[in-house]
Amino acid sequence: MLSIEGVAVNFGKVQALRGVTMNVEPGVLHGIIGPNGAGKSTLIDVVSGRTAASAGRVRFEGHDISRRSVVWRKRAGISRSFQKTSIFRNETVRDQLELVSALGSDAAVEEIAEALGLGSVMDAVAGTIAYGDQRRVDLALALVGKTKLLLLDEPGAGLSSAETMAMFAHVRELTEKRGITAVIVEHDVDAVFATCDRITVLDLGSVLAEGTPAEVRSNDDVIVAYLGTAA
């Protein structure tokens, strides 16, 4: 479904990504982990179109989308959430979900909101609800509208481990139900190992390892670079 081929990103002299190659199969929940500065968010930025790659290609459903605009990618079915919560603080939850879904003419706003536990805050103004709820609104904004590929940038940012685990469970449920493929960048390693089908480990802009959670957990390089002894 998604194929990243040799993508490199340079910000001036800083190499955020060096020749990253990875594949995401349809319907899979693919996690990306790595230490700070590994380039995880940059990868999401490249796939979603926010940042242009200095080298390499991104293919979506077989087509090269490297030069496509953000708007084009969204309309093709690529959606993303943000590490730094990006919602409409002055609108009610319901209004903003409807606004964003309007383009995809997806009537599943209620369903998605319920599944994410937002039912009780639907008519509250987004700026007034709890941070955890706001994160879930950010996630919901990515889900409404016809999404085929969901890119989540640290959905658990600022949330407790339990909340993050719960959010991952929601994502798992929703993606299975609606046949969405998801790529999740996350810091909370436990949640990723518990929920994802495949994991890619990034370190300093390159792929360190890739495989099933079990494979990655037992990979020596990963243990040395990142997980420490308590893997």
């Binding site: 926010r50 409409f88 002055n90 903003q96 606004l99 383009l103 103004v125």
Partner: protein, 356 residues
């Protein structure tokens, strides 16, 4: 209307993405009836107000209000502040003048041509300028207005624009039945000005409640999210800018018709400043705020302008609007009404209140 705190009229606060809480149907109907009555009665003002001078001042205030409403719409929906509104105002006036003098057509047709022309110009300028940040936009509007002023002043343009001297217009035919002479007279100009302000306020209301308005305000609140939601963020802003420009051009064309005269002072920063201050002082968060601000400004300018000190009024007005009148004059009235209501509610409760 929306926020309960007294907040400063920064662009992001002037609108928020939030639509007004839906007023109860009864309230809404009441407002519409009141509005309708005011609209109709407005036409009859010249019958009551006989003082020609004041009729003239207020009439000009209405025309200024049309342009100010345009600026107000732009600020409210997109957060962009047009410092160079003189460009569309004077632009509409000059396009009308060109149509009358060069094409030698009658008033109504010239007016229509001017409107089409200024709308196209606003569209083109909009595409270029709304792509930038708020600050760059403000500076670009100043640059464009200055560009037009300098161009009009050149010897090259003199035959058409009259350069610094301006151009006197020999208008022929009628404007919807009114001759140039009738357009000059305050009492017969008034219905035209009143109709124009009604149109402007109606446009403001329509844009506010429309999908365009909702999308534009959402873009103002979080452009990145809208982009990633698949909205093309440029066009709503361009559309709003074009509408605002058309209103500015309307005001300019009416001004040219009224005075049978155009000059570069219609285009310059002072002119744009007075339009802007009218919008800010009145309060752009409501549809009729800028109109009220414009009338207030016109009254003030009557005193200051005579002494050639219109800029002083504009400057003081802007500073007052930013520092004191936070949500504009309309906001002030709303706050006063709220305070009165609260006071009334408190005295009602007071008698049955239990002290702790």
């Amino acid at each position: 209307m929306t926020d309960s705190k007294l907040t400063l009229p920064s662009p992001e606060l002037l609108t928020g993405g939030r639509a007004a809480p839906r007023a109860s149907p009864r309230r809404l109907v009441a407002w519409y009836i009141v509005g309708g009555v005011v609209a109709v009665l407005g036409f009859l003002v010249p019958l009551v107000l006989r003082n020609v001078h004041w009729l003239d001042v207020l009439g000009q205030g209405l025309v200024l209000g049309v342009a100010a409403t345009g600026v107000g719409i732009l600020v409210r929906q997109t957060g962009l502040v047009n410092f160079g509104a003189g460009a569309v105002f004077g632009g509409g006036a000059y396009l009308y003048a060109i149509a009358v003098l060069q094409l030698q057509i009658d008033m109504t047709l010239a007016f229509l041509l001017a409107m089409v022309g200024i709308t196209v110009m606003a569209f083109l300028v909009g595409i270029i300028t709304v792509r930038t940040g708020h600050l760059q936009f403000a500076i670009l509007t100043i640059a464009f207005a200055s560009l037009l002023v300098q161009f009009v002043l050149t010897q090259f343009a003199r035959p058409v624009t009259g350069a610094a001297d301006g151009k006197i217009l020999q208008q022929t035919g009628t404007f919807f039945g009114l001759s140039a002479k009738a357009m000059f007279q305050a009492s017969t100009f008034w219905p035209v000005a009143w109709a124009a302000i009604l149109i402007a306020v109606a446009v403001a209301i329509v844009v506010e409640r429309s999908k365009l308005g909702r999308i534009a305000r959402a873009i103002q609140e979080n452009e990145e999210r809208m982009l990633f939601a698949g909205y093309r963020v440029l066009w709503p802003k361009v559309a709003v800018f074009t509408i605002a420009g058309a209103l500015g051009g309307l005001a300019g064309a009416l001004t040219a018709m009224h005075y049978s005269f155009v000059s570069p002072s219609l285009l310059d920063i002072s002119s744009g400043g007075s339009i802007l201050v009218a919008a800010l002082v009145g309060g752009p968060q409501s549809a009729f705020g800028p109109a009220i601000g414009a009338i207030l400004y016109a009254i003030g300018e009557d005193a200051f302008g005579a002494a050639g000190r219109a800029d002083l009024l504009t400057g003081i007005g802007i500073i007052a609007a930013i520092v004191l009148l936070r949500r504009g004059f309309v906001g002030l009235i709303e706050d006063v009404v709220k305070l009165i209501r609260r006071g009334v509610a408190k005295t009602r409760k007071g008698s049955s209140r239990v002290e702790h």
